[in-house]
Amino acid sequence: MNHNTSGKANDRTNSKAEDKRDVQQGTLALMILKTLESMGPLHGYGIARRIEQTSDNLLSLNYGTLYPALLKLEQEGCIASEWGVSDNNRKAKYYKLTRAGRKQLQRETREWEQTAAIVARFLSPEGENS
C-alpha cells in the first residue's frame, strides 16, 4: 500500500531530490506499523531507512520526527520496545508490533484504502462517467 501511495506521487513528479515529498500528517504511524509488520522487530534507524527505501527515496523523512511518533504508538500500546544488539554489534532499542498494533494496522489499512479509492474516483474523469 505504501507503494501505492508513492506510486501516485511518482506519476506526477520526477524523482529529483528537491521534489521529495514530506510525510503526510497521520501517515507516518501507518508506515511505521506496516514496516514493523513486514520486517519484524527493528530499531529506529532501521525503520527510518526502510520507509525511505520503500518509497523509492521519494519521501523525505526528518528522522527527528520519527521518535515522537514511535513514542506515541508505544503510549497507545500499538508497539513495544526493548534494548537489544544490532547486526554490527551495536546497542539499539528495538521496536515490535503488539497484538493491539496489528489490529490497529488492519483497521487503518482498510480506512486508508477506502479513502484512497474515493479520492481516486473523484480524480479520474472516466470513473465519474461510468
Binding site: H43, G44, Y45, G46, R49, N62, Y63, G64, T65, Y67, P68, L71, K72, E74, Q75, E76, G77, S86, N88, R90, K91, A92, K93, A100, Q104
Partner: protein
C-alpha cells in the same frame, strides 16, 4: 480507550525524568552512530558523515524537545510551573497577599455559608418515591366560602384563611378515593399535633402527625425497623399503634431495637410502637418536626383541640395528596377532582356552600406546593443570598484594584518577559493562574469561615424561635463543588482586567523608567480610571447593602417601640391542657380556679388571671360574627379571646366604658359540659377550646366586652353598651339544624369597652376584638403578674401545678417579653445578619479605597516631593490626596443611592414603619460612608504629608 491509555502513560511520563532522558540520549546516539557508519560505508569522510547524519535527524536537541513534548503533558507542566512561579510572587509581597486572601476568604466564606443553608432548606427534593406523580389538592373559591372550623398547618405556606387553601374535610377525602380511574391512591394527613407523652421517662410533649393508613405505602416510605402503618390500623376500633421517626427513635429511645411492642401513653391513651420509619424520611413538608405518626382513626381518643367532629363536612383540617395513575395527565385528574369537589360541596347530602362562591380544586405537584418552614426561611435566605452576592462582587473589585496597583510595580517584569519572547497569551495565563491561585487560597480560608458562619447563623435562627432550626447542615460535595466553582469564577473575574492591562505595555519606556514616573502619560490616566471605577463600584455596592441593613434595623427598632396596649413587664405565661387528660366541663373550671387561687398565694405574685390564649403569642381565634345593624351576610371575621376573672385588671388593660366581667357573667355564659355531653353521643370529643357555642340556657344573653376598635368600626358615635351580635351563622340553616335553633337565641350583649391592644402579632393593625367570658372545658393560658423577674418563679409554679395534678404538664412556659421577642425573631435575625454583612461590605470598600490611594501616593512620591519643594504646604498635600478619595466616595455613594432607590422596594414586605426609600436612612448611610472613607484616605494622606522633599527627589 487508546487515548486514555496514552494519557495515563503520559501522566506517568511526568515522573522519573532523569532515567527517561538518559534512555532517549542513548537511543539517539545509537541512531546517529548507525547512520554515520552507513554514510562512511558509502564513501563519505567521517566528518561529513556525521554532519549529514545530524542534518537528517534535524538536530539532536530539537529531536529531544519534540520527544519530551510528546512524553509528558506539556500543558500540565506549564501549569505546575505557573503555579510555582505564582506562589513565589505571592510570597514576595506578603502584605498584598494577606489582604487579598482575607478579602476573598470573607467573600467566598459568606457565600459558601449562605449557599449551604439555601441548599439544605430550598434545593432538596421531597424524600418520597416518584415525587412528580404525587399531587396535592388546593381549593379555590370566592370570599365567604368557608364557615365552620378550619385548621391549616402551614404546609402550603398559606397566610390566613381566605379564597384558597390546602385543608379539606374528611368526606371530600372519601369522595376523592372513589376516583379510582384517576388516582391510584389518595392520602390525607394533618398536624403535627402536640401530644402529651408519658411512659418513657418524665412526661414530655411530642409532635404527632395524623395520617391516613396508606400514607407510607403511597409515598413509598419503608420501615427501618418493624413496620409502617397499614390498612389494619385504619378502623376506629383498631388497636392504637404509632410509628416513630428515625430521629426521635434515636434521641428518645437510643435507637434500641426493643422499642417494638413497647407501650407509651399519648394524651393518656396507651399506644403500641410498631415500627420506625426510614432514616431518609423525616417529614413531607420541609423543616417540620415530626416525632411519630398515627392514623386518623386515633383522633377521637386523643382529644386534640382541633380534632373535634373530624368526620364532619364542617371541619376542614386535612392536607390531601394523591398519586396519579400512570398515563393520567394532571389536567384530566384536575378536571375530575374539581367536578367531584364541586358536586359534594354544593349539592352533597349536606350542602356546604352556595354555587356563587364557585368552588374548584387545583392539583399541583407536591414539590411545588409543600414548602413548610421553607416559606418563612426562603425570604430571609434570598435576602442573605443577595447580600453575600454583592459582598463577593465587592471583594472581587477590591482584589482587582489591588492587583491593578501591583501590576504597575510589575511593569518592568512584564516588559522583560515580552522582550524575551513571551507571548501575550503566556503572560495572561500566568497572571490568571496567580489570581485563581489567590482565590483558591481565599477559598480554603473561606471554607473555615463558612463552617463557623453556618454554625453562628443556625444558632441565631434556632435561638430566636421555640421550634429550633430544623435542618442539619453538614459540608458535602455539593457545597465543596459550589465553593470550587466560585473560586474559579472569582479568580477569573477579578484577574481578567488587570491581566489584560498588564500585557499592554509599551516596552521601551517601561524598561527604561521606574514605576514612579511623573504622572501625565496616557497610560497612567487609563489605569487610574479603571481603578477609580472599581472603587466607585465598591462604594456603591456597599451603600446598597448598608441601606438595606439600615432599613431592616430601623424596622426592628420600630417594632420594638410599638406599645402593645398592656403592661408586658413582669408577666409569666404558661399553658395547660387538662382536656387532653380527660378533664371535663366543671372539672376544668374548678382546676383553673384552684390553680389561680394557689398561684396567687405564692410570694412574689401580685395577681393571676387566665384566658383562652395569651396576647401576642402569634395565635389567633377567628369566628364569623353577625353584628347588630350590619348586613346579615356574609358576617365578619372577628378576633375573639375568652378572658377569665380579673384578666383586664391583671394585664393593665384600661376599661373605657361599662364594666368588666363579674361572677354572674361566667355563670350566665354557656357551659361547656352540656355541649361536651351532647356531642359525646355522636363523637367522644368536646368542642373546640373557648366558649361553648351550644347554649345551656337558651335565651339568656352572653355578656361580652369589646375593644375600642370594635366601637369605632361598628358603632361610631353611638353608645355600644347593650348592642348585640350573634356568632356563626344567623343563616346557620346551612350549617346544620342541631345548632341553628340554639344559635338564634344565643346572642352576645356588650357590657363594656376596653382599650385597644395588639392581638396576635405586633405588625398587624389593631382589629375589632370581642372578649368572651372564659368557660373552657379544654385548656388555656395563665398570666402571672409578678413583683420581680418572673423567671425566678417558674419552679415554684411547677411545684404548685404538680400538687394539683402530677400528670399535668405545663407547656409554653415563658415571659410576656420573651413571647414578644419570639414574634420578632425573624426581624431580629435579619437585622443582625444584614447589619453584619453591611459592616463587612463597608470594610471591604474601605480596603479598596485605601489600597488605591496608598498606591497612588507611593507612585506619586516624587511628584509630591516636587510640589513640596516648590512651596506646597502639608495642608495642600492632605487636600490633594483626601480630596481624591472623597470625590470617589461621594460618587460611589451617589451611584449606590441611585441603585438602592430602585431595589429596596423588594424589601418592602419585610419593613415596618419605614418606607423602602426612606430618605433618612439613605442620607445617614451616605454620611457614615463618607466619614469612614475619610479615615481610609487619611492614612495614606498622612504618609504623603510626611514626604521629605529631599528624599523624594533622590528617591530613584
Amino acid at each position: 480507550m487508546k487515548s486514555l491509555r496514552a494519557l495515563l502513560v503520559r501522566l506517568a511520563g511526568l515522573f522519573n525524568k532523569g532515567k527517561r532522558d538518559r534512555d532517549l540520549a542513548a537511543e539517539l546516539e545509537s541512531h546517529l552512530q548507525m547512520h554515520i557508519e552507513e554514510n562512511v560505508r558509502r564513501g563519505m569522510t567521517p566528518a561529513e558523515a556525521r554532519r549529514q547524519a545530524l542534518i537528517k535527524l534535524g538536530g539532536v536537541e530539537q529531536a529531544k524537545e519534540q520527544y519530551r513534548a510528546r512524553r509528558g503533558l506539556p500543558a500540565l507542566e506549564t501549569l505546575a510551573q505557573d503555579i510555582r512561579y505564582g506562589l513565589r510572587m505571592l510570597r514576595k509581597s506578603p502584605g498584598f497577599t494577606a489582604v487579598a486572601i482575607l478579602t476573598l476568604a470573607l467573600g467566598i466564606g459568606a457565600n459558601t455559608a449562605i449557599f449551604s443553608l439555601i441548599d439544605r432548606v430550598m434545593l432538596r427534593p421531597i424524600p418520597v418515591r416518584d415525587a412528580n406523580q404525587l399531587v396535592i389538592f388546593q381549593w379555590k373559591a370566592h370570599k365567604g366560602f368557608l364557615n365552620g372550623e378550619y385548621s391549616a398547618f402551614n404546609d402550603c405556606g398559606e397566610r390566613g384563611v381566605g379564597t384558597t387553601g390546602c385543608s379539606f374535610p374528611l368526606p371530600i377525602v372519601s369522595k376523592m378515593h372513589a376516583l379510582t380511574d384517576m388516582f391510584s391512591s389518595v392520602i390525607a394527613c394533618a398536624g403535627p399535633a402536640d401530644l402529651d407523652l408519658s411512659g418513657n421517662g418524665p412526661p414530655s410533649i411530642v409532635q404527632g402527625e395524623i395520617v391516613s393508613a396508606d400514607y407510607f405505602s403511597t409515598l413509598g416510605v419503608g420501615a427501618a425497623l418493624g413496620r409502617t402503618l397499614g390498612p389494619s390500623d385504619e378502623s376506629f376500633s383498631a388497636d392504637p399503634v404509632v410509628v416513630l421517626s428515625y430521629g426521635y427513635w434515636q434521641s428518645a429511645f437510643g435507637g434500641s431495637h426493643s422499642v417494638l411492642g413497647h407501650t407509651i401513653l399519648l394524651n393518656n391513651v396507651p399506644f403500641t410502637i410498631v415500627g420506625v420509619a426510614d432514616r431518609s424520611f423525616t417529614n413531607l413538608s420541609p423543616g417540620k418536626r415530626q416525632d411519630l405518626w398515627l392514623t386518623i382513626a386515633m383522633m377521637p381518643r386523643l382529644k386534640i383541640s382541633w380534632g373535634s367532629n373530624i368526620g364532619s363536612m364542617e371541619n376542614w383540617w386535612l392536607l390531601m395528596m394523591a398519586r396519579l395513575k400512570p398515563g393520567v395527565s394532571l389536567e384530566q385528574a384536575q378536571t375530575a377532582a374539581s367536578l367531584t369537589f364541586r358536586n359534594e360541596v354544593l349539592y352533597g347530602t349536606k350542602p356546604y356552600a352556595k354555587a356563587t362562591v364557585d368552588p374548584k380544586v387545583v392539583l399541583t405537584r407536591v414539590g411545588d406546593v409543600l414548602i413548610g418552614r421553607r416559606g418563612a426561611l426562603s425570604t430571609i435566605l434570598s435576602l442573605l443570598a443577595a447580600s453575600v452576592g454583592i459582598i463577593l462582587l465587592i471583594a472581587c473589585a477590591t482584589v482587582a484594584g489591588l492587583l491593578l496597583s501591583r501590576a504597575a510595580t510589575r511593569q518592568k517584569e512584564m516588559a522583560v518577559r515580552l522582550t524575551l519572547g513571551a507571548s501575550h497569551g503566556t503572560i495572561v495565563r500566568q497572571l490568571l493562574t496567580e489570581s485563581v491561585l489567590l482565590s483558591f487560597l481565599g477559598g480554603v480560608l473561606g471554607i473555615a469561615f463558612a463552617y463557623w458562619g453556618v454554625h453562628a447563623i443556625t444558632v441565631l435562627i434556632a435561638g430566636g424561635s421555640s421550634q429550633g432550626f430544623p435542618y442539619v447542615i453538614a459540608p458535602d460535595w455539593r457545597i465543596l463543588a459550589f465553593t470550587l466553582g466560585i473560586c474559579v469564577v472569582t479568580g477569573i473575574v477579578f484577574g481578567l482586567a488587570p491581566a489584560f492591562r498588564s500585557t499592554r505595555v509599551d516596552l521601551t519606556p517601561a524598561l527604561k523608567e521606574s514605576a514612579s514616573t511623573l504622572p501625565g502619560s496616557g497610560r497612567r490616566a487609563g489605569r487610574f480610571r479603571l481603578g477609580s471605577a472599581l472603587v466607585i463600584a465598591q462604594v456603591a455596592l456597599s451603600v446598597v447593602v448598608l441601606i438595606g441593613a439600615g432599613l431592616l434595623v430601623r424596622t426592628l427598632e420600630n417594632l420594638r417601640s410599638i406599645r402593645p396596649g398592656f403592661d408586658v413587664n413582669n408577666i409569666l405565661l404558661f399553658e395547660i391542657n387538662p382536656g387532653r387528660l380527660g378533664y371535663r366541663g366543671a372539672q376544668v373550671r374548678n382546676l383553673f380556679s384552684e390553680l389561680r387561687d394557689r398561684l396567687a398565694a405564692l410570694p412574689g405574685v401580685k395577681s393571676v388571671s387566665y384566658s383562652s390564649d395569651a396576647l401576642l403569642s402569634g395565635g389567633e381565634w377567628d369566628e364569623t360574627v353577625h353584628v347588630e345593624g350590619q348586613p346579615a351576610e356574609p358576617g365578619v371575621q372577628m378576633n375573639l379571646l375568652a378572658a377569665g376573672p380579673g384578666f383586664f385588671e391583671n394585664m393593665h388593660i384600661p376599661l373605657v366604658e361599662g364594666r368588666t366581667f363579674n361572677g354572674t357573667d361566667f355563670e350566665q355564659a354557656p357551659q361547656d359540659d352540656a355541649a361536651a355531653e351532647k356531642s359525646a353521643k355522636q363523637n367522644p370529643l368536646p368542642l373546640a377550646a373557648g366558649l361553648g357555642v351550644d347554649a345551656a340556657k337558651p335565651g339568656a344573653p352572653v355578656n361580652v366586652l369589646v375593644n375600642e376598635a370594635f366601637v369605632r368600626q361598628y358603632f361610631p358615635n353611638q353608645n355600644p353598651l347593650g348592642k348585640r351580635m350573634v356568632e356563626g351563622g344567623s343563616s346557620s340553616k346551612a350549617t346544620g339544624e342541631a345548632w341553628g335553633a340554639d344559635m338564634k337565641s344565643q346572642h352576645w350583649q356588650i357590657v363594656g369597652v376596653v382599650a385597644d391592644t395588639k392581638y396576635d402579632t405586633l405588625r398587624h393593625e389593631i382589629q375589632p376584638v370581642v372578649y368572651l367570658p372564659f368557660t373552657s372545658s379544654y385548656g388555656g393560658y395563665f398570666e402571672l403578674r409578678t413583683t420581680a423577674d418572673p423567671r425566678a418563679l417558674i419552679s415554684a409554679v411547677r411545684d404548685v401545678a404538680r400538687k394539683v395534678d402530677d400528670k399535668l404538664p405545663l407547656t409554653s412556659v415563658t415571659t410576656q417579653t420573651q413571647e414578644i421577642d419570639e414574634l420578632m425573631s425573624q426581624e431580629r435575625l435579619v437585622a443582625k445578619l444584614s447589619g453584619f454583612f453591611g459592616v463587612l461590605a463597608l470594610v471591604l470598600a474601605c480596603i479598596g479605597l485605601y489600597g488605591l490611594l496608598s498606591y497612588e501616593v507611593s507612585r506619586r512620591t516624587r511628584e509630591i516631593g516636587i510640589r513640596m519643594a516648590i512651596g506646597a504646604q502639608q495642608r495642600d498635600v492632605l487636600r490633594l490626596v483626601v480630596g481624591e478619595g472623597i470625590v470617589l466616595a461621594i460618587a460611589g455613594a451617589a451611584v449606590g443611592i441611585g441603585v438602592a432607590l430602585g431595589v429596596t422596594r423588594y424589601l418592602a414586605s419585610m419593613l415596618y414603619g419605614v418606607h423602602a426609600n426612606d430618605p433618612v436612612t439613605m442620607i445617614a448611610v451616605a454620611v457614615l460612608l463618607v466619614l469612614v472613607a475619610l479615615v481610609a484616605c487619611y492614612i495614606p494622606a498622612r504618609r504623603a504629608m510626611r514626604t521629605d522633599p529631599m528624599v523624594a527627589l533622590r528617591y530613584e
